[in-house]
Amino acid sequence: MKLSIYRYDPDKDAKPYMKDYEVALDHADRMLLDAMVKAKAQDDSLSFRRSCREGVCGSDAMNINGKNGLACITKIADLPEHVTLRPLPGLPVIRDLVVDMTQFFKQYHSIKPYLINNDPPPERERLQSPEEREQLNGLYECILCACCSTACPSFWWNPDKFVGPAGLLQANRFLADSRDQATAERLDNLEDPYRLFRCHTIMNCVDVCPKNLNPTRAIGHIKDLMVKRSV
């Protein structure tokens, strides 16, 4: 298998370049990450993040043959013989495939990603019906890998002003929670020409999400709530 990988080390490289690796696979190598670990065994300076290797931690998001995804759950069998790997688009590159995610997390933090309920907590759990709990499915599973936001042209254009699909998916996760009391505050926080309304339903986010989540639909729900409260 041939991997062409984006390389850039600010300590020594004037500019980025692509470097090719020939990787001999064996039967234990199922996922792209397995091949990358072999490439790193050839050249220990190749830098990328990885941890759980099963698609739940969100570390190894990257651009794989032009499409964002997680290396650890991208099957080698589903890839062509020659694979090109680049860092997630639109974020500053620290080194090789390692990007600076500060802006991405800043947007996530900006939506107040925590339950707000000002009632004194009861002795036991707050009650929630199975139907109410089901509203959180498709939202809470986000792993903050940034595949979606860095595939979004609106986020590329205004990463400082547009919350982006990942942050908005989480905004909806708390709006949808029957235990949360901050609906008005959350909507106020998003009522802005950029923060929410820069989403033009391009749907790249849905296309790339490795957890099969649907940020566009979540954004639609938020927009519905905005409309409902204005009439």
Binding site: D9, P10, D11, K12, A28, R30, K40, A41, D43, D44, S45, S47, F48, R49, R50, S51, C52, R53, E54, G55, V56, C57, G58, S59, I73, K75, I94, R95, D96, V98, M101, F105, H109, K112, P113, Y114, L115, N117, P121, E123, R124, E125, R126, L127, Q128, S129, P130, E132, R133, L136, Y140, E141, I143, L144, F174, D177, R179, D180
Partner: protein, 593 residues
């Protein structure tokens, strides 16, 4: 030439690690007005708590009768009577409180029709002190409980403005030579490659486990025992390191975990004859016997030629009879994993599984307040001032020789919280200014890094690491054989001496992952050495330690905790705490399920 001193930053408290226990402690500390730093070598939600699946134990009694006494009994029995009964009582008594708190924080637990938290059965958790009836004790968020818990804890820390140092790897503890008090850590900022001293009045190690010492593991790449290495290098002992849990259901060939919750929901194991073999090994609990029992049964099936597949080297986990509705609602993550890593859609096909290293019961010795304790003078458990440990890197010991499923997430939040509380209490009780840093603080760490930076030839990190992992796999597995253990100790010693000659080609300052992996290797070696030396010395079978030459538990000689020291590769022992806090001792019995 005199080196410039390392930059120093001062905090009241430092938490090393941002998994479940580190973030639960951080939350407690954030509620004080102390200056706190949380260091993590990965972004907090990438910590391996995220991969926990099946649930968190708490006797909420939402589906049938339950109470902390029963939970305590199961945990003591599960530990094969090596767990400290004071700590176990403490954990079980605080379980309801901490789980309810998680719910209040917003953790999206699955729900019953009553609106209460959904609970499922799990291995070794029973009603009425080990009766044949399983307790519904595992509070679950589908099969993503760890993910939901870790994200909830991170969210609450965002709310509390916790100061995170993300992608900072702690490398060593700094101790005051006067009394051994811990006064800070030396840490590497990965993005810049710079070393700093983070000075503090109290330091909590919450660095997780080290399952990467084995070839086949459910653990993430990052689980390299960094806190264990730090403690060992600082002269502290590691406790009960021979006890490693093999989870019965790792996906064969891939290692990725399939939760015990599958069997909690009604799935079961089959051998090549289609036989539900667990009925022979554990007539009452069957597939929900505790993990050491199931893993031994599976290994025996494979060894006796009843394994599945062309090489007869795995078993099948059947769950299609649960129906697509239960699978999609309660086990959606498992379905995803089985399809991706096991080439089997569990709605139709059984999943190929094999016992796989999963959890380290041992660790840095602590009491149930999270204070690190070590022998000093005549006492076996003198408090190490300023140092705390919680979660998988610690040994409280609530899991003893074998952990019950869902007790690990509980351990994280109970002892994460308890450590945070104790750190605050200790600092308030003795309000003192920062101590002066000892002369040459951080220099041994700087020398380690300088050697790595200057070496241009030697052993490759990846080769030494792979040899270590293969050695542990072959010499210290589910069943342990005396010759293998003796030879294993020699091999790990050889590997450890090779590790002194490692070199890396990457000399960059910026995000140098080769350097990080080299530093992790040193921590893995300490962990592996502690494991195999302790296992070789323990001449009995108990929990996860199953020896061919000593097949029985030996309470007379071995009802004691192992303590391993790096210096001289030396062992010591200390008694098990048999007395609980308020109830009667749970006396050792023959352990059957």
């Amino acid at each position: 030439m005199a080196l410039t001193p390392l930059p120093v930053r001062k905090f009241d408290a430092i938490v090393v690690g941002a998994g479940g226990s580190g973030m639960r402690a951080a939350l407690e500390l954030a509620r004080s007005n102390l200056k706190v730093a949380v260091l993590s070598k990965v972004f907090p939600t990438r910590s391996h708590t995220v991969a926990a699946q099946g649930g968190i134990a708490a006797p909420l009694a939402n589906s049938g009768e339950d109470n902390w006494h029963w939970h305590m009994y199961d945990t003591v029995k599960g530990s094969d009577y090596l767990g400290d009964q004071d700590a176990i009582e403490y954990m079980c008594r605080r379980a309801v409180e901490v789980v309810v708190e998680l719910e209040h924080m917003g953790m999206p637990f699955d729900r019953l029709e009553s609106g209460k938290i959904y609970q499922r059965p799990f291995g070794g958790h029973t009603q009425a002190y080990g009766s044949a009836k399983m307790a519904m004790r595992a509070c679950a968020v589908a099969d993503r409980t760890g993910h939901a818990m870790l994200h909830t804890l991170y969210q609450q820390n965002v709310r509390s403005n916790t100061q995170f140092f993300v992608e900072w790897m702690a490398l060593d503890l700094i101790r005051d030579p006067q009394d051994g008090a811990v006064v800070g850590v030396v840490a590497l900022e990965m993005e810049t490659g710079e070393l700093s001293i983070l000075q503090a009045k109290s330091v909590l190690l919450a660095t997780g486990g080290a399952g990467r010492i084995y070839w086949a593991t459910t653990n993430a790449f990052i689980n390299t025992g960094d806190g264990l290495g730090m403690a060992a290098r600082a002269g502290l002992p590691l406790e009960d390191m021979e006890f490693w849990q093999f989870h019965p259901t790792g996906v064969a060939g891939a290692g990725v975990l399939i939760t015990e919750g599958v069997r909690g929901e009604g799935g079961y194991l089959l051998n090549k004859n289609g036989e539900r073999f667990m009925e022979r090994y554990a007539p009452n609990a069957k597939d929900l016997a505790s993990r050491d029992v199931v893993s031994r049964a599976m290994t025996t099936e494979i060894k006796e030629g009843r394994g599945c597949g062309p090489d007869g080297d795995f078993l099948y986990l059947k769950l299609d009879h649960l129906g697509p509705e239960v699978i999609n609602q309660r086990l959606p993550g498992i379905r995803e994993i089985a399809i991706k890593f096991g080439n089997a859609d569990p709605v139709r096909d059984p999943v190929p599984v094999v016992p796989t290293v999963h959890y380290q019961m041992g660790g840095i010795p602590t009491n149930y307040m999270g204070q690190v304790v070590a022998p000093e003078g005549a006492g076996k458990e003198a408090i190490v001032p300023g140092l705390y440990a919680a979660g998988e890197c610690s040994c409280v010991s609530v899991h003893g020789a074998n952990r019950l499923g869902t007790n690990s997430l509980l351990d994280l939040v109970v002892f994460g919280k308890a450590s945070g509380e104790q750190m605050i209490k200790d600092m308030r009780l003795h309000p003192t200014p920062h101590r002066t840093l000892p002369k040459g603080a951080g220099e041994p760490t700087r020398e380690r890094l300088a050697r790595l930076d200057s070496a241009n030839s030697g052993e490759r990190v990846v080769d030494v690491l792979n040899d270590l992992r293969r050695t542990m796999q072959a010499h210290c597995g589910v069943f342990r054989f005396p010759e293998d253990l003796i030879k294993g100790v020699q091999k790990v010693e050889e590997i450890a001496s090779r590790a002194k000659r490692i070199f890396i080609q990457d000399k960059s300052k910026t995000f140098n992952t080769a350097r990080v992996e080299a530093l992790e290797l040193e921590n893995l070696i300490e962990t592996a050495m502690a494991t195999i030396v302790s296992a070789e010395a323990r001449k009995e079978s108990r929990g996860a330690q199953a020896r061919s030459d000593f097949p029985e538990r030996d309470d007379k000689n071995w009802m004691k905790h192992t303590l391993w020291y790096k210096e001289g590769n030396r062992l010591d022992y200390k008694p098990v705490h048999l007395r609980p806090l308020s109830v009667e001792t749970m006396e050792p019995k023959v352990r059957t399920y």
